[in-house]
Amino acid sequence: MAAVEFQNVGIRFGEVPVVRDLSLIVEDGEFVVLVGPSGCGKSTILRSIAGLAAINEGDMRIGGERMNDADPAARDIAMVFQSYALFPNMTVAQNLGFGLKIRGEARAGIARKVAEVAAVVGLSDHLHKRPGALSGGQRQRVALARAILRRPGVFLFDEPLSNLDAEFRTAMRAEIVRFHRNQGASMVYVTHDQTEAMTMGDKIAVLAPLAAGHKANLMQYGTPDEVYNRPANLFVARFIGTPRMNVMTLPVDGGTVRFGSQTLALPPAAAHLGKVVLGQRPEHLRLAATGSESGLAGSVEHIENLGHEMILTLATDLGPLILREARSAKVPSLGQQVRLVLDPDHVHLFDPVSEQRIE
Protein backbone atom coordinates (compact mmCIF):
# COMPACT_ATOMS: atom_id res chain seq x y z
CA MET A 1 0.00 0.00 0.00
CA ALA A 2 1.23 3.47 -0.86
CA ALA A 3 2.20 5.56 2.15
CA VAL A 4 1.27 8.85 0.53
CA GLU A 5 -0.51 9.34 -2.75
CA PHE A 6 -1.23 12.58 -4.58
CA GLN A 7 -3.79 12.49 -7.37
CA ASN A 8 -4.11 15.62 -9.53
CA VAL A 9 -3.64 17.81 -6.50
CA GLY A 10 -3.88 21.59 -6.76
CA ILE A 11 -3.15 24.09 -3.98
CA ARG A 12 -3.78 27.83 -4.13
CA PHE A 13 -2.89 30.68 -1.83
CA GLY A 14 -5.93 32.86 -2.32
CA GLU A 15 -6.07 33.20 -6.10
CA VAL A 16 -2.43 32.30 -6.69
CA PRO A 17 -1.84 28.67 -7.70
CA VAL A 18 1.20 27.21 -5.93
CA VAL A 19 0.78 23.54 -6.79
CA ARG A 20 -0.94 22.30 -9.93
CA ASP A 21 -1.86 18.84 -11.16
CA LEU A 22 0.47 16.95 -8.83
CA SER A 23 0.34 13.18 -9.05
CA LEU A 24 2.95 11.32 -7.07
CA ILE A 25 3.15 8.14 -5.03
CA VAL A 26 5.38 7.56 -2.03
CA GLU A 27 5.58 3.81 -1.55
CA ASP A 28 5.58 2.24 1.88
CA GLY A 29 8.99 2.54 3.50
CA GLU A 30 10.38 4.82 0.81
CA PHE A 31 12.54 7.89 1.41
CA VAL A 32 11.35 10.54 -1.04
CA VAL A 33 13.04 13.91 -1.36
CA LEU A 34 11.16 16.89 -2.72
CA VAL A 35 13.72 19.24 -4.21
CA GLY A 36 13.50 22.48 -6.14
CA PRO A 37 14.27 26.19 -6.04
CA SER A 38 12.38 28.72 -3.89
CA GLY A 39 8.71 28.97 -4.73
CA CYS A 40 8.47 25.52 -6.32
CA GLY A 41 5.84 24.45 -3.78
CA LYS A 42 7.92 21.76 -2.06
CA SER A 43 7.19 22.97 1.46
CA THR A 44 3.54 23.54 0.60
CA ILE A 45 3.23 19.94 -0.65
CA LEU A 46 4.81 18.66 2.55
CA ARG A 47 2.55 20.86 4.66
CA SER A 48 -0.48 19.59 2.76
CA ILE A 49 0.44 16.05 3.84
CA ALA A 50 0.58 17.28 7.43
CA GLY A 51 -2.72 19.12 7.13
CA LEU A 52 -1.14 22.55 7.57
CA ALA A 53 -1.93 23.63 4.00
CA ALA A 54 -5.37 23.13 2.48
CA ILE A 55 -5.75 21.12 -0.72
CA ASN A 56 -8.05 22.81 -3.24
CA GLU A 57 -8.23 20.15 -5.96
CA GLY A 58 -7.63 16.44 -6.30
CA ASP A 59 -7.09 13.80 -3.64
CA MET A 60 -4.35 13.14 -1.12
CA ARG A 61 -4.28 9.74 0.54
CA ILE A 62 -2.24 8.50 3.46
CA GLY A 63 -2.14 4.74 3.88
CA GLY A 64 -4.85 4.43 1.25
CA GLU A 65 -7.29 6.70 3.04
CA ARG A 66 -8.37 10.06 1.65
CA MET A 67 -7.02 12.67 4.06
CA ASN A 68 -7.67 16.00 2.30
CA ASP A 69 -9.69 17.38 5.20
CA ALA A 70 -8.60 15.18 8.09
CA ASP A 71 -7.38 16.75 11.32
CA PRO A 72 -3.57 17.05 11.37
CA ALA A 73 -3.42 14.94 14.52
CA ALA A 74 -5.37 12.11 12.85
CA ARG A 75 -3.11 11.65 9.83
CA ASP A 76 -0.56 9.16 11.13
CA ILE A 77 2.28 11.56 10.36
CA ALA A 78 4.98 13.35 12.33
CA MET A 79 6.86 16.39 11.17
CA VAL A 80 10.30 17.81 11.86
CA PHE A 81 10.22 21.54 11.28
CA GLN A 82 13.00 23.66 9.80
CA SER A 83 13.13 25.70 13.01
CA TYR A 84 12.59 22.44 14.99
CA ALA A 85 9.60 24.17 16.66
CA LEU A 86 10.57 23.09 20.16
CA PHE A 87 8.63 24.70 22.97
CA PRO A 88 11.18 27.00 24.62
CA ASN A 89 9.30 27.15 27.91
CA MET A 90 9.47 23.39 28.39
CA THR A 91 12.35 21.05 29.18
CA VAL A 92 13.44 18.44 26.66
CA ALA A 93 11.43 15.83 28.57
CA GLN A 94 8.33 18.03 28.55
CA ASN A 95 8.80 18.77 24.86
CA LEU A 96 8.95 15.07 24.09
CA GLY A 97 6.03 14.23 26.35
CA PHE A 98 3.81 17.09 25.16
CA GLY A 99 1.83 15.09 22.63
CA LEU A 100 1.37 12.13 24.98
CA LYS A 101 0.17 14.45 27.72
CA ILE A 102 -2.29 16.14 25.35
CA ARG A 103 -3.59 12.73 24.34
CA GLY A 104 -4.16 11.97 28.01
CA GLU A 105 -1.57 9.26 28.68
CA ALA A 106 -0.68 8.39 32.24
CA ARG A 107 2.38 10.06 33.75
CA ALA A 108 4.34 6.87 34.30
CA GLY A 109 3.79 5.81 30.70
CA ILE A 110 4.93 9.20 29.40
CA ALA A 111 8.10 9.14 31.50
CA ARG A 112 8.96 5.63 30.30
CA LYS A 113 8.40 6.40 26.61
CA VAL A 114 10.32 9.68 26.84
CA ALA A 115 13.26 7.94 28.49
CA GLU A 116 13.24 5.23 25.81
CA VAL A 117 13.24 7.60 22.88
CA ALA A 118 15.83 9.87 24.51
CA ALA A 119 18.14 6.88 24.76
CA VAL A 120 17.61 6.12 21.06
CA VAL A 121 18.75 9.57 19.95
CA GLY A 122 21.38 10.00 22.68
CA LEU A 123 19.64 12.70 24.70
CA SER A 124 19.34 10.91 28.03
CA ASP A 125 21.66 13.38 29.78
CA HIS A 126 19.80 16.42 28.50
CA LEU A 127 16.20 15.66 29.45
CA HIS A 128 16.07 18.32 32.17
CA LYS A 129 17.47 21.09 29.93
CA ARG A 130 15.50 23.63 27.98
CA PRO A 131 15.96 23.88 24.20
CA GLY A 132 17.79 27.19 24.64
CA ALA A 133 20.62 25.39 26.44
CA LEU A 134 21.14 22.85 23.62
CA SER A 135 23.31 23.00 20.52
CA GLY A 136 21.77 23.03 17.04
CA GLY A 137 22.44 19.34 16.58
CA GLN A 138 20.91 18.43 19.93
CA ARG A 139 17.78 20.44 19.14
CA GLN A 140 17.60 18.60 15.86
CA ARG A 141 17.67 15.31 17.79
CA VAL A 142 14.93 16.48 20.15
CA ALA A 143 12.78 17.30 17.13
CA LEU A 144 13.54 13.89 15.67
CA ALA A 145 12.80 12.15 18.97
CA ARG A 146 9.48 13.95 19.23
CA ALA A 147 8.60 12.64 15.77
CA ILE A 148 9.71 9.08 16.65
CA LEU A 149 7.52 9.10 19.76
CA ARG A 150 4.45 9.42 17.60
CA ARG A 151 5.31 6.15 15.81
CA PRO A 152 3.88 7.57 12.59
CA GLY A 153 3.41 5.85 9.26
CA VAL A 154 5.06 8.79 7.53
CA PHE A 155 7.83 11.12 8.71
CA LEU A 156 7.86 14.59 7.21
CA PHE A 157 11.01 16.71 7.19
CA ASP A 158 10.97 20.39 6.23
CA GLU A 159 14.56 21.42 5.42
CA PRO A 160 15.73 20.15 8.80
CA LEU A 161 19.44 20.63 8.12
CA SER A 162 19.42 24.15 6.75
CA ASN A 163 20.11 25.72 10.16
CA LEU A 164 23.22 23.63 10.79
CA ASP A 165 26.79 24.41 9.74
CA ALA A 166 28.28 22.56 6.79
CA GLU A 167 30.36 20.04 8.72
CA PHE A 168 27.54 19.03 11.00
CA ARG A 169 25.08 18.88 8.12
CA THR A 170 27.02 16.03 6.51
CA ALA A 171 27.03 14.07 9.77
CA MET A 172 23.32 14.68 10.33
CA ARG A 173 22.56 13.65 6.75
CA ALA A 174 24.08 10.24 7.39
CA GLU A 175 22.27 10.04 10.71
CA ILE A 176 18.86 10.63 9.13
CA VAL A 177 19.53 8.07 6.39
CA ARG A 178 20.58 5.55 9.02
CA PHE A 179 17.50 6.44 11.00
CA HIS A 180 15.36 5.72 7.94
CA ARG A 181 16.97 2.31 7.50
CA ASN A 182 16.36 1.41 11.15
CA GLN A 183 12.81 2.71 11.36
CA GLY A 184 11.70 1.43 7.99
CA ALA A 185 8.99 4.08 7.94
CA SER A 186 8.11 6.18 4.90
CA MET A 187 9.71 9.59 4.80
CA VAL A 188 9.12 12.71 2.79
CA TYR A 189 11.97 15.16 2.96
CA VAL A 190 12.02 18.71 1.62
CA THR A 191 15.22 20.48 0.67
CA HIS A 192 16.51 23.06 -1.78
CA ASP A 193 19.93 21.43 -1.63
CA GLN A 194 20.37 19.01 -4.51
CA THR A 195 23.32 17.32 -2.80
CA GLU A 196 20.99 16.37 0.06
CA ALA A 197 18.46 15.15 -2.48
CA MET A 198 20.98 13.01 -4.35
CA THR A 199 22.59 11.49 -1.27
CA MET A 200 19.53 10.81 0.88
CA GLY A 201 16.58 9.89 -1.30
CA ASP A 202 15.42 6.53 -2.61
CA LYS A 203 13.56 8.74 -5.04
CA ILE A 204 13.74 12.40 -5.91
CA ALA A 205 10.86 14.60 -7.01
CA VAL A 206 12.26 17.63 -8.82
CA LEU A 207 9.83 20.54 -8.63
CA ALA A 208 9.68 23.82 -10.51
CA PRO A 209 7.89 27.05 -9.58
CA LEU A 210 4.60 27.69 -11.40
CA ALA A 211 5.48 31.38 -11.37
CA ALA A 212 8.26 30.62 -13.88
CA GLY A 213 5.63 29.56 -16.43
CA HIS A 214 5.62 25.79 -15.88
CA LYS A 215 2.28 24.01 -16.41
CA ALA A 216 2.80 21.69 -13.44
CA ASN A 217 5.31 21.55 -10.61
CA LEU A 218 6.58 18.01 -10.97
CA MET A 219 9.44 17.99 -13.47
CA GLN A 220 10.70 14.47 -12.83
CA TYR A 221 10.19 11.73 -10.28
CA GLY A 222 12.74 8.96 -10.13
CA THR A 223 15.79 7.49 -8.43
CA PRO A 224 18.84 9.75 -8.00
CA ASP A 225 20.56 7.85 -10.81
CA GLU A 226 17.65 8.31 -13.19
CA VAL A 227 17.35 11.98 -12.41
CA TYR A 228 21.09 12.56 -12.79
CA ASN A 229 21.79 10.36 -15.78
CA ARG A 230 18.56 10.80 -17.73
CA PRO A 231 17.08 14.20 -16.85
CA ALA A 232 13.58 14.36 -18.31
CA ASN A 233 13.86 17.99 -19.32
CA LEU A 234 16.11 21.02 -19.35
CA PHE A 235 14.92 22.20 -15.91
CA VAL A 236 16.05 18.98 -14.24
CA ALA A 237 19.24 18.88 -16.30
CA ARG A 238 20.18 22.34 -15.08
CA PHE A 239 19.01 21.93 -11.50
CA ILE A 240 20.62 18.61 -10.58
CA GLY A 241 24.40 18.37 -10.56
CA THR A 242 27.24 20.58 -9.30
CA PRO A 243 28.76 22.16 -11.26
CA ARG A 244 25.76 22.52 -13.53
CA MET A 245 25.43 20.68 -16.80
CA ASN A 246 26.81 22.50 -19.85
CA VAL A 247 23.93 23.41 -22.12
CA MET A 248 24.20 24.83 -25.63
CA THR A 249 21.74 25.38 -28.45
CA LEU A 250 23.15 24.09 -31.77
CA PRO A 251 21.76 24.25 -35.33
CA VAL A 252 20.94 20.84 -36.87
CA ASP A 253 22.44 20.26 -40.32
CA GLY A 254 21.68 17.05 -42.19
CA GLY A 255 20.88 15.12 -39.03
CA THR A 256 24.09 16.19 -37.31
CA VAL A 257 25.33 18.96 -35.05
CA ARG A 258 28.83 20.42 -34.99
CA PHE A 259 30.82 21.08 -31.84
CA GLY A 260 33.74 22.98 -33.38
CA SER A 261 35.32 20.48 -35.71
CA GLN A 262 33.61 17.54 -33.98
CA THR A 263 30.51 16.18 -35.72
CA LEU A 264 27.79 14.33 -33.84
CA ALA A 265 25.07 12.29 -35.49
CA LEU A 266 21.63 12.85 -33.97
CA PRO A 267 19.06 10.15 -33.27
CA PRO A 268 16.05 10.10 -35.66
CA ALA A 269 13.83 11.90 -33.14
CA ALA A 270 16.11 14.96 -33.19
CA ALA A 271 17.37 14.82 -36.79
CA HIS A 272 14.40 16.66 -38.28
CA LEU A 273 14.58 19.63 -35.89
CA GLY A 274 16.01 23.00 -36.93
CA LYS A 275 17.88 23.37 -33.65
CA VAL A 276 18.60 21.15 -30.73
CA VAL A 277 19.69 21.80 -27.14
CA LEU A 278 22.73 19.72 -26.28
CA GLY A 279 23.78 19.08 -22.72
CA GLN A 280 26.88 17.47 -21.28
CA ARG A 281 27.97 17.20 -17.69
CA PRO A 282 31.34 18.79 -16.77
CA GLU A 283 32.86 15.38 -15.94
CA HIS A 284 32.21 14.08 -19.48
CA LEU A 285 33.66 17.01 -21.36
CA ARG A 286 37.33 16.30 -22.19
CA LEU A 287 40.42 18.27 -23.11
CA ALA A 288 41.88 17.15 -26.47
CA ALA A 289 45.51 16.07 -26.60
CA THR A 290 47.90 18.97 -27.16
CA GLY A 291 48.34 19.77 -30.83
CA SER A 292 45.06 18.08 -31.76
CA GLU A 293 42.67 20.03 -34.03
CA SER A 294 39.56 18.10 -32.96
CA GLY A 295 36.64 19.59 -31.06
CA LEU A 296 36.02 23.20 -30.03
CA ALA A 297 38.61 25.89 -29.29
CA GLY A 298 38.54 27.61 -25.92
CA SER A 299 40.70 29.44 -23.43
CA VAL A 300 41.01 28.78 -19.70
CA GLU A 301 39.21 31.59 -17.90
CA HIS A 302 39.09 30.36 -14.33
CA ILE A 303 40.47 27.43 -12.34
CA GLU A 304 38.97 26.12 -9.12
CA ASN A 305 41.37 23.79 -7.32
CA LEU A 306 39.49 21.35 -5.12
CA GLY A 307 42.56 19.27 -4.32
CA HIS A 308 41.39 15.97 -5.78
CA GLU A 309 40.07 17.63 -8.92
CA MET A 310 40.02 20.87 -10.90
CA ILE A 311 37.00 22.71 -12.17
CA LEU A 312 37.87 24.74 -15.26
CA THR A 313 35.76 27.49 -16.75
CA LEU A 314 36.52 27.83 -20.45
CA ALA A 315 35.55 30.68 -22.75
CA THR A 316 34.37 29.36 -26.14
CA ASP A 317 32.34 30.55 -29.14
CA LEU A 318 29.38 28.66 -27.64
CA GLY A 319 29.66 30.56 -24.35
CA PRO A 320 31.39 29.56 -21.12
CA LEU A 321 31.72 25.79 -20.58
CA ILE A 322 32.64 23.98 -17.39
CA LEU A 323 34.97 21.04 -17.33
CA ARG A 324 35.90 18.77 -14.49
CA GLU A 325 39.37 17.29 -14.58
CA ALA A 326 40.99 14.85 -12.19
CA ARG A 327 43.91 16.45 -10.38
CA SER A 328 46.28 13.72 -11.60
CA ALA A 329 45.89 14.89 -15.20
CA LYS A 330 48.04 17.64 -16.66
CA VAL A 331 46.19 20.84 -15.91
CA PRO A 332 46.40 23.78 -18.31
CA SER A 333 47.33 27.19 -16.97
CA LEU A 334 45.13 30.29 -16.83
CA GLY A 335 44.60 31.88 -20.25
CA GLN A 336 45.96 28.83 -22.13
CA GLN A 337 44.36 27.92 -25.48
CA VAL A 338 42.88 24.38 -25.41
CA ARG A 339 40.48 22.25 -27.44
CA LEU A 340 37.41 20.58 -25.98
CA VAL A 341 35.90 17.28 -27.05
CA LEU A 342 32.40 15.99 -26.28
CA ASP A 343 31.91 12.45 -25.07
CA PRO A 344 29.30 11.22 -27.59
CA ASP A 345 28.12 8.48 -25.19
CA HIS A 346 27.07 10.99 -22.55
CA VAL A 347 25.24 13.60 -24.57
CA HIS A 348 21.80 14.77 -23.45
CA LEU A 349 19.48 16.18 -26.12
CA PHE A 350 16.46 18.40 -25.53
CA ASP A 351 13.81 19.92 -27.75
CA PRO A 352 14.47 23.70 -27.76
CA VAL A 353 10.73 24.50 -27.70
CA SER A 354 9.23 21.94 -25.32
CA GLU A 355 12.53 21.57 -23.38
CA GLN A 356 11.76 17.83 -23.09
CA ARG A 357 14.40 15.15 -23.40
CA ILE A 358 14.94 13.53 -26.81
CA GLU A 359 16.10 9.90 -26.77
Partner: protein, 273 residues
Protein backbone atom coordinates in the same frame (compact mmCIF):
# COMPACT_ATOMS: atom_id res chain seq x y z
CA UNK B 1 38.83 66.08 25.98
CA UNK B 2 37.80 63.69 23.22
CA UNK B 3 34.52 64.09 21.35
CA UNK B 4 33.15 60.83 22.73
CA UNK B 5 33.85 62.01 26.28
CA UNK B 6 32.17 65.34 25.63
CA UNK B 7 29.12 63.55 24.26
CA UNK B 8 28.98 61.32 27.34
CA UNK B 9 29.23 64.30 29.67
CA UNK B 10 26.53 66.14 27.75
CA UNK B 11 24.14 63.20 27.85
CA UNK B 12 24.73 62.81 31.58
CA UNK B 13 24.06 66.51 32.11
CA UNK B 14 20.77 66.28 30.20
CA UNK B 15 19.74 63.13 32.07
CA UNK B 16 20.52 64.72 35.44
CA UNK B 17 18.46 67.81 34.59
CA UNK B 18 15.56 65.68 33.28
CA UNK B 19 15.72 63.41 36.31
CA UNK B 20 15.72 66.36 38.67
CA UNK B 21 12.83 68.04 36.83
CA UNK B 22 10.68 64.93 37.15
CA UNK B 23 11.51 64.14 40.75
CA UNK B 24 11.46 67.72 42.09
CA UNK B 25 7.65 68.03 42.42
CA UNK B 26 7.51 64.73 44.28
CA UNK B 27 10.29 65.81 46.67
CA UNK B 28 8.46 69.09 47.20
CA UNK B 29 5.23 67.31 48.09
CA UNK B 30 7.08 64.94 50.40
CA UNK B 31 8.47 68.08 52.01
CA UNK B 32 5.04 69.59 52.52
CA UNK B 33 3.68 66.31 53.90
CA UNK B 34 6.35 66.35 56.60
CA UNK B 35 6.11 70.05 57.55
CA UNK B 36 3.79 72.07 59.72
CA UNK B 37 1.49 74.42 57.81
CA UNK B 38 3.69 77.35 58.85
CA UNK B 39 6.89 75.67 57.69
CA UNK B 40 5.28 74.57 54.44
CA UNK B 41 4.54 78.12 53.37
CA UNK B 42 7.56 79.83 54.83
CA UNK B 43 9.37 82.16 52.43
CA UNK B 44 12.12 81.51 51.54
CA UNK B 45 11.36 77.75 51.64
CA UNK B 46 12.77 75.96 54.65
CA UNK B 47 15.15 73.27 53.45
CA UNK B 48 16.07 72.21 56.96
CA UNK B 49 13.14 71.50 59.25
CA UNK B 50 11.97 69.11 61.93
CA UNK B 51 9.78 66.47 60.20
CA UNK B 52 6.38 65.78 61.69
CA UNK B 53 4.29 62.68 60.98
CA UNK B 54 0.94 64.19 61.96
CA UNK B 55 -0.37 64.41 58.41
CA UNK B 56 0.36 60.76 57.67
CA UNK B 57 -1.18 59.73 60.97
CA UNK B 58 -4.30 61.69 60.07
CA UNK B 59 -4.56 60.27 56.54
CA UNK B 60 -3.91 56.67 57.58
CA UNK B 61 -6.61 56.92 60.20
CA UNK B 62 -9.10 58.48 57.79
CA UNK B 63 -11.77 55.88 56.96
CA UNK B 64 -12.70 57.67 53.72
CA UNK B 65 -9.13 57.56 52.46
CA UNK B 66 -8.64 53.93 53.44
CA UNK B 67 -11.87 53.02 51.68
CA UNK B 68 -10.76 54.90 48.57
CA UNK B 69 -7.40 53.14 48.66
CA UNK B 70 -9.02 49.71 48.92
CA UNK B 71 -11.61 50.55 46.26
CA UNK B 72 -8.84 51.46 43.83
CA UNK B 73 -7.07 48.22 44.67
CA UNK B 74 -10.23 46.22 43.93
CA UNK B 75 -10.97 48.22 40.81
CA UNK B 76 -7.46 47.52 39.52
CA UNK B 77 -7.72 43.84 40.36
CA UNK B 78 -11.18 43.46 38.86
CA UNK B 79 -10.31 45.62 35.85
CA UNK B 80 -7.29 43.47 35.07
CA UNK B 81 -9.20 40.22 35.56
CA UNK B 82 -11.92 41.31 33.14
CA UNK B 83 -9.40 42.64 30.63
CA UNK B 84 -7.38 39.41 30.62
CA UNK B 85 -10.38 37.10 30.68
CA UNK B 86 -11.59 38.63 27.42
CA UNK B 87 -8.39 40.14 26.08
CA UNK B 88 -6.21 37.02 26.06
CA UNK B 89 -8.54 34.83 23.97
CA UNK B 90 -9.34 37.84 21.76
CA UNK B 91 -5.66 38.58 21.16
CA UNK B 92 -4.98 34.90 20.48
CA UNK B 93 -7.75 34.79 17.91
CA UNK B 94 -6.73 38.09 16.31
CA UNK B 95 -3.17 36.83 16.02
CA UNK B 96 -4.33 34.08 13.66
CA UNK B 97 -4.16 35.07 10.03
CA UNK B 98 -7.57 33.89 8.98
CA UNK B 99 -9.74 36.33 10.98
CA UNK B 100 -11.93 38.28 8.53
CA UNK B 101 -11.77 42.05 9.09
CA UNK B 102 -8.85 41.73 11.47
CA UNK B 103 -7.34 45.10 10.59
CA UNK B 104 -10.69 46.85 11.03
CA UNK B 105 -11.29 45.25 14.42
CA UNK B 106 -7.85 46.32 15.60
CA UNK B 107 -8.34 49.86 14.31
CA UNK B 108 -11.67 50.13 16.17
CA UNK B 109 -10.07 48.92 19.36
CA UNK B 110 -7.35 51.49 19.02
CA UNK B 111 -9.93 54.21 18.39
CA UNK B 112 -11.83 53.25 21.53
CA UNK B 113 -8.58 53.37 23.46
CA UNK B 114 -7.78 56.85 22.20
CA UNK B 115 -11.16 58.46 22.95
CA UNK B 116 -11.22 60.77 26.00
CA UNK B 117 -12.64 58.68 28.81
CA UNK B 118 -14.99 61.38 30.03
CA UNK B 119 -16.94 60.87 26.80
CA UNK B 120 -18.28 57.62 28.26
CA UNK B 121 -19.35 59.08 31.57
CA UNK B 122 -22.52 60.92 30.55
CA UNK B 123 -24.30 58.19 28.57
CA UNK B 124 -23.19 55.51 31.00
CA UNK B 125 -24.30 57.57 34.00
CA UNK B 126 -27.94 57.05 33.11
CA UNK B 127 -27.40 53.40 32.29
CA UNK B 128 -25.63 52.76 35.57
CA UNK B 129 -28.29 54.63 37.58
CA UNK B 130 -30.97 52.44 36.03
CA UNK B 131 -29.07 49.16 36.37
CA UNK B 132 -27.73 49.66 39.87
CA UNK B 133 -24.11 49.74 38.77
CA UNK B 134 -23.74 53.38 39.78
CA UNK B 135 -21.31 53.85 42.67
CA UNK B 136 -20.06 50.25 42.58
CA UNK B 137 -16.46 49.09 42.11
CA UNK B 138 -17.70 46.44 39.67
CA UNK B 139 -19.37 49.13 37.52
CA UNK B 140 -16.19 51.16 37.60
CA UNK B 141 -14.04 48.21 36.52
CA UNK B 142 -16.56 47.56 33.75
CA UNK B 143 -16.24 51.09 32.37
CA UNK B 144 -12.47 50.92 32.68
CA UNK B 145 -12.64 48.18 30.04
CA UNK B 146 -13.08 50.97 27.46
CA UNK B 147 -9.35 51.52 27.74
CA UNK B 148 -7.92 48.47 29.52
CA UNK B 149 -9.47 45.94 27.14
CA UNK B 150 -8.21 47.45 23.86
CA UNK B 151 -4.82 48.05 25.44
CA UNK B 152 -4.67 44.46 26.73
CA UNK B 153 -5.67 43.06 23.35
CA UNK B 154 -3.07 45.14 21.51
CA UNK B 155 -0.31 44.30 23.93
CA UNK B 156 -1.08 40.60 24.14
CA UNK B 157 -1.41 40.34 20.38
CA UNK B 158 2.05 41.87 20.01
CA UNK B 159 3.49 39.38 22.51
CA UNK B 160 1.66 36.46 20.87
CA UNK B 161 2.98 37.57 17.48
CA UNK B 162 6.49 37.02 18.86
CA UNK B 163 5.72 33.33 19.36
CA UNK B 164 6.84 31.51 16.20
CA UNK B 165 3.87 30.14 14.29
CA UNK B 166 5.68 26.82 13.81
CA UNK B 167 5.12 26.20 17.54
CA UNK B 168 1.38 26.52 16.98
CA UNK B 169 1.58 24.09 14.08
CA UNK B 170 3.79 21.65 15.97
CA UNK B 171 1.28 21.63 18.82
CA UNK B 172 -1.58 21.12 16.36
CA UNK B 173 0.20 18.09 14.90
CA UNK B 174 0.52 16.69 18.41
CA UNK B 175 -3.24 16.88 18.68
CA UNK B 176 -3.56 19.98 20.86
CA UNK B 177 -6.75 22.03 20.58
CA UNK B 178 -6.57 25.81 20.24
CA UNK B 179 -7.28 26.43 23.92
CA UNK B 180 -4.60 23.93 24.91
CA UNK B 181 -2.09 25.64 22.64
CA UNK B 182 -3.02 29.00 24.19
CA UNK B 183 -2.71 27.65 27.72
CA UNK B 184 0.38 25.50 27.38
CA UNK B 185 2.45 27.27 24.74
CA UNK B 186 1.40 30.88 24.22
CA UNK B 187 0.65 31.96 27.79
CA UNK B 188 3.88 30.65 29.33
CA UNK B 189 5.89 32.22 26.53
CA UNK B 190 4.05 35.54 26.84
CA UNK B 191 4.25 35.62 30.65
CA UNK B 192 6.52 38.70 30.75
CA UNK B 193 4.04 40.35 28.42
CA UNK B 194 1.15 39.59 30.73
CA UNK B 195 3.09 41.07 33.64
CA UNK B 196 3.92 44.23 31.69
CA UNK B 197 0.35 44.65 30.51
CA UNK B 198 -1.05 44.12 34.00
CA UNK B 199 1.33 46.72 35.42
CA UNK B 200 0.49 49.31 32.79
CA UNK B 201 -3.25 48.61 33.17
CA UNK B 202 -2.97 49.01 36.93
CA UNK B 203 -1.11 52.30 36.66
CA UNK B 204 -3.78 53.63 34.34
CA UNK B 205 -6.65 52.48 36.59
CA UNK B 206 -4.93 53.68 39.73
CA UNK B 207 -4.47 57.19 38.35
CA UNK B 208 -7.93 57.44 36.79
CA UNK B 209 -10.03 60.37 38.04
CA UNK B 210 -12.63 61.50 35.51
CA UNK B 211 -14.72 58.31 35.31
CA UNK B 212 -14.57 57.73 39.06
CA UNK B 213 -15.70 61.31 39.61
CA UNK B 214 -18.69 60.86 37.30
CA UNK B 215 -19.81 57.36 38.21
CA UNK B 216 -19.22 57.08 41.96
CA UNK B 217 -20.58 59.04 44.86
CA UNK B 218 -19.64 57.47 48.15
CA UNK B 219 -19.31 53.69 48.39
CA UNK B 220 -17.01 53.23 45.39
CA UNK B 221 -14.90 56.39 45.60
CA UNK B 222 -11.34 55.71 44.46
CA UNK B 223 -8.01 56.81 45.88
CA UNK B 224 -7.65 59.72 43.46
CA UNK B 225 -11.00 61.09 44.68
CA UNK B 226 -9.98 60.49 48.28
CA UNK B 227 -6.84 62.55 47.73
CA UNK B 228 -8.84 65.31 46.11
CA UNK B 229 -11.25 65.29 49.03
CA UNK B 230 -8.70 67.07 51.22
CA UNK B 231 -9.38 70.06 49.06
CA UNK B 232 -12.39 71.21 51.08
CA UNK B 233 -14.97 73.95 50.48
CA UNK B 234 -13.48 76.39 52.92
CA UNK B 235 -9.82 75.43 53.10
CA UNK B 236 -7.25 73.15 51.56
CA UNK B 237 -5.54 70.81 54.02
CA UNK B 238 -2.19 70.94 52.26
CA UNK B 239 -0.40 68.69 54.72
CA UNK B 240 -2.98 65.91 54.56
CA UNK B 241 -3.42 66.35 50.81
CA UNK B 242 0.32 65.87 50.32
CA UNK B 243 0.52 62.92 52.70
CA UNK B 244 -2.44 61.30 50.91
CA UNK B 245 -0.86 61.95 47.50
CA UNK B 246 2.44 60.39 48.59
CA UNK B 247 0.62 57.43 50.13
CA UNK B 248 -1.30 56.88 46.92
CA UNK B 249 1.93 56.85 44.92
CA UNK B 250 3.51 54.15 47.11
CA UNK B 251 1.87 50.99 45.73
CA UNK B 252 2.65 51.97 42.13
CA UNK B 253 6.18 52.95 43.12
CA UNK B 254 6.88 49.61 44.80
CA UNK B 255 5.25 47.84 41.86
CA UNK B 256 7.33 49.77 39.35
CA UNK B 257 10.61 49.11 41.16
CA UNK B 258 9.87 45.40 41.45
CA UNK B 259 8.76 45.00 37.85
CA UNK B 260 11.01 47.54 36.14
CA UNK B 261 12.30 45.09 33.57
CA UNK B 262 8.85 43.94 32.47
CA UNK B 263 7.61 47.52 32.14
CA UNK B 264 10.56 48.57 29.99
CA UNK B 265 10.11 45.41 27.91
CA UNK B 266 6.44 46.14 27.42
CA UNK B 267 7.02 49.77 26.54
CA UNK B 268 9.86 49.15 24.11
CA UNK B 269 7.82 46.43 22.47
CA UNK B 270 5.22 49.01 21.52
CA UNK B 271 7.98 51.29 20.27
CA UNK B 272 9.56 48.79 17.93
CA UNK B 273 6.45 47.17 16.48
Amino acid sequence: MTRARRATLLSYAILIIAGFASIFPILWIIGISLKTQADAFAMPPKLVFVPIWDHYAKVWADATFIKGFLNSLFAALLGNLMAFAIGIPAAFALNQKRVPGRATILAWLLLSYMLPEFLFVIPIYGLFQASGLYDTVFGLALVYQTFTLPFTIWMMRAFFADVPFALYEAARLEGAKSWQILLRVYLPMAAPGIAATAILNTIRIWNELAIALGLTFDKAQTVTLAVAAYRGYAAIDWGALSAAAITSILPMLIFAVLAQRQIVGGLSLGAVK
